[in-house]
């Protein structure tokens, strides 16, 4: 991609490609719909797009499974082709780019140099710090070094997936590589987390679109865009009414499961999971786990591998493993009770005896 094209605004690129006004409106309306913005925001986006320059994007992959990128490439609104060619300038992605080896490293370095202070870094995967970061190296440089070097000149960082957002699977107990999320390393740049294992494709692309058009979006405490992570799955779940009337599937093959009742008792983490699965859904809006009869695992939440006991333990369940300690405590309590009663009896007897002694003494007087 030439510098000349990168200097064009999105609007210019679109109209150069013969995109009609109606197509543009349709695109903006669809995008606004995915950003869960008020329907009127489509026009604001349209205005912004007509004057915004396309930013350079550097996509870094560390400890990851490429599931997030696989997800991203299945985005259809905006489609990833649309994104790459019209909205952003993807200058480095070692998985997608044709170049390899030294050539690709040079492309990255060139992009950093040319767009210093303006480019966007997208990170996929956790960053291992154990043993000096040897568990993930590219071109002789450790992941943490690449991240630091690349982030230095970035305008903002977008973490795609639970691994880069919170550490994810590499971070899970016992975390042999000393993996950490990006936020543990880079603390001086605007950070947007798009967690999920993987994130919803449209959520990734729409977050990028929103960054391009409206800047850093409103975020929650975990740096997640509120537009997609503002509500729990439970709040937006079409099975919520069953929760409210107390109709629950108790097993995966009972009448309740067949009737599509609430999966709370089967361990659904929907009530504590903030994501857009229940509204945006997956696979071109076809379905999402709960609609397919499986409880939410809570993949867009921190430490989702380790928390909550089991994926299938209800949220209301205690996380104490066994009652044995309480039983032992009861036993010890009973023993102390016996002691307390014995002590009390002894004290009473002593008091009673001193009373008798006083009586005898006073009689002798």
């Amino acid at each position: 991609m030439t510098t000349a094209i990168r200097e064009q605004t999105v609007g210019e690129v679109l109209s150069a490609n013969g995109v009609s006004r109606r197509t543009f409106i349709k695109f903006c309306v669809s995008t606004a719909s995915f950003l869960a913005l008020a329907p009127g925001m489509g026009q604001v986006i349209a205005k912004q797009l007509l004057k915004t320059k396309r930013p350079s994007v550097i996509y870094l992959s560390f400890q990851e499974c490429t599931g997030c990128l696989e997800s991203l490439t299945r985005s259809y609104t905006p489609s990833v082709e649309n994104m790459i060619f019209n909205m952003i300038s993807l200058d480095y992605d070692d998985t997608l780019m044709a170049a390899a080896g030294k050539q690709s490293e040079e492309a990255r370095d060139a992009a950093i140099k040319e767009n210093y202070g303006k480019y966007l870094v997208v990170v996929d995967g956790a960053v291992p710090l154990g043993n000096g970061g040897v568990y993930n190296t590219q071109g002789g440089k450790s992941a943490v070094q690449i991240l630091r070097d690349t982030a230095k000149g970035a305008a903002a960082i977008v973490c795609v997936g639970t691994c880069s957002s919170y550490g994810g699977l590499p971070y899970a107990n016992p975390n042999p590589t000393g993996a950490v999320p990006v936020s543990d390393i880079i603390t001086d740049k605007p950070l947007i987390n798009v967690p999920g294992c993987p994130p919803i494709p449209a959520v990734i692309t729409s977050t990028l679109v929103q960054y391009v058009t409206l800047g850093v979006p409103a975020l929650d405490a975990h740096h997640r865009p509120l537009a997609f992570y503002g509500n729990t799955i439970h709040d937006r779940c079409y099975r919520r009414p069953y929760f409210d009337v107390g109709k629950f599937a108790k097993t995966f093959d009972d009448e309740g499961a067949r009737n599509g009742w609430c999966l709370y008792e089967l361990g659904c983490k929907g009530p504590t999971t903030y994501n857009a699965c229940a509204t945006v859904k997956w696979n071109e809006g076809t379905s999402f786990p709960i609609e397919s009869g499986h409880p939410c695992l809570g993949c867009s939440e921190p430490s989702f591998w380790d928390r909550n006991g089991s994926f299938y333990a209800p949220l209301a369940a205690g996380l104490i493993g066994s009652l044995a300690p309480a039983g032992e405590a009861a036993g010890v309590g009973a023993a102390v009770g016996i002691g307390a009663a014995a002590l009390s009896r002894l004290r009473s007897r002593a008091r009673t005896q001193s009373r008798a002694a006083e009586k005898t003494a006073s009689k002798e007087d």
Binding site: G337, A340, L343, S344, S348, T352, S354, R355
Partner: protein, 442 residues
């Protein structure tokens, strides 16, 4: 009276009232004596009573002292606060916490003094609160236990202490012009009835309230007459004549035992199978329910209230009664007899046999209000004004019953109503059920 206490715990907020003190004891010694006394009372059942209270305040609504005054210090459970406090600190399972962190302070002598008013002057030990408590706490039992400690600490009301002392020593609560034995025989002569006295062998042993000897001789005669009519071999014993037990009222365990032992020993001496408690409520509690405990083993004879005994005779057909006139009658249930003693049906069976038109009081049987004299309160001079306030509703109930004749079966209740009659110029006169029975033997 010592200075009003200044502490801030629950125990500290009771109005200081004059207290009687016995013995020349330091405050420390008094408290120590009380603690020693409590130590005798600590036990599992008591602990359940003391641990259960949830401060719901419902017991206040059972108590005629609270109802009459609406003064929260008369809340029954509050009257045992020193006991509760001592228990929590000394005996309860968490005593160590209460002591270590000072969560419950040591009961002070001031507190004990202040509580004399609550434990004696304003409590008839009538047990009405124990029937209302949703936690099932037997508060009157706790009152009795707390009175024990008060007595041991030298903090019983002067009148009760003096009478108890006199009675444990001489057998009668007060000195009399003549010995009670002679007075009894004189009553026999006056009412032309034989008074069986000091027989060596008798099936039934009798005793009398000294209130009757002094004030209601006709009652004494009635007892003798009824027994004579039944033809049962019975006797009074000159060394065990008095039914009352001031040791019980004052809270002196030892003296209560000593006083009860006189009667027990006399009953044993004449080989009685039954000891009949005359029309006296607390004597029934003391002899029927508490004497065996003090004796240390089950009594080898039965203890029966006179109405209970007579109702039994009625059933076997040995006792026949005439109809006793017409006109409405009402009956005051003595607390110790009915609510705390279980003698509820016997008086009514007798009244039925007498063909009386019984108009029950608004609060009757187990829920009857105390006359106000029980628990020794009648004897406490300074308690009189409060007692009159507390018993007004009772008098109103009697008036409202529409009865012309007012009966009861306890000479203390009777004396209390007679006292009220004088104080209020009340129109009703309390009568003895036993006298009515004696007047209508068939």
């Amino acid at each position: 009276m010592s200075a009003q206490s200044v502490n801030t715990t629950t125990a500290g907020r009771v109005r200081a009232m004059p207290a009687d003190l016995q013995g020349d004891l330091s405050n420390r010694a008094r408290v120590e004596r009380a603690m020693q006394s409590f130590a005798l009372e600590y036990g599992s059942l008591t602990a359940f009573r003391l641990e259960s209270c949830i401060h719901c305040g419902i017991c206040a609504d059972a108590c005629h002292y609270y109802i009459a005054t609406e003064d929260p210090q008369y809340t029954p459970i509050l009257k045992v606060e020193p006991f509760k406090q001592a228990y929590k600190r000394e005996s309860g399972p968490y005593a160590v916490f209460f002591k270590l962190f000072g969560l419950k302070r040591r009961v002070s002598a001031d507190e004990l003094e202040n509580w004399q008013h609550l434990l004696y002057d304003s409590c008839n030990m009538c047990g009405r609160c124990s029937l209302i408590c949703p936690m099932g706490i037997n508060i009157s039992e706790l009152i009795e236990q707390t009175r024990h400690a008060m007595f041991d600490a030298g903090l019983a009301p002067a009148e009760l202490y003096a009478k108890a002392k006199h009675q444990q020593h001489s057998g009668q609560p007060e000195a009399s012009k003549e010995p009670y034995r002679d007075m009894l025989l004189a009553i026999g002569r006056q009412y032309k009835v034989e008074i069986p006295m000091d027989k060596d062998q008798a099936e039934v042993m009798l005793c009398v309230p000294r209130t009757d000897i002094e004030h209601y001789p006709k009652s004494v005669a009635a007892l003798a007459r009824v027994m004579q009519h039944l033809g049962v071999s019975c006797t009074f014993r000159s060394d065990g004549l008095v039914a009352e037990n001031y040791g019980y009222y004052a809270g002196g365990r030892e003296w209560q035992r000593k006083i009860s032992m006189r009667l027990i020993n006399e009953a044993l001496a004449c080989h009685a199978k039954t000891l009949i408690v005359p029309e006296c409520g607390h004597a029934y509690t003391a002899l029927r329910w508490e004497a065996a405990e003090l004796y240390g083993k089950p009594l080898p004879f039965r203890v029966r209230h006179v109405t209970e005994y007579l109702a039994g005779q009625l059933q076997t057909g040995r006792l026949k009664l005439r109809k006793a006139g017409n006109g409405a009658v009402t009956f005051h249930d003595p607390c110790q007899l009915v609510r705390k003693g279980g003698v509820m049906d016997a008086p009514r069976q007798l009244m039925q046999a007498l063909g009386l038109d019984l108009h029950e009081l608004e609060n009757n049987k187990a829920f009857s209000f105390c006359c106000g004299g029980g628990g020794g309160v009648l004897d406490i001079q300074r308690a009189a004004p409060l007692r009159y306030r507390a018993m007004e509703s009772k008098l109103r109930e009697v008036d409202d019953s529409g009865a012309q004749t007012f009966l009861t079966s306890c000479s203390d209740c009777r004396a209390t109503f007679d006292d009220a009659k004088a104080h209020f110029n009340w129109e009703q006169t309390p009568h003895s059920l036993l006298e009515l029975v004696a007047d209508n033997l068939g």
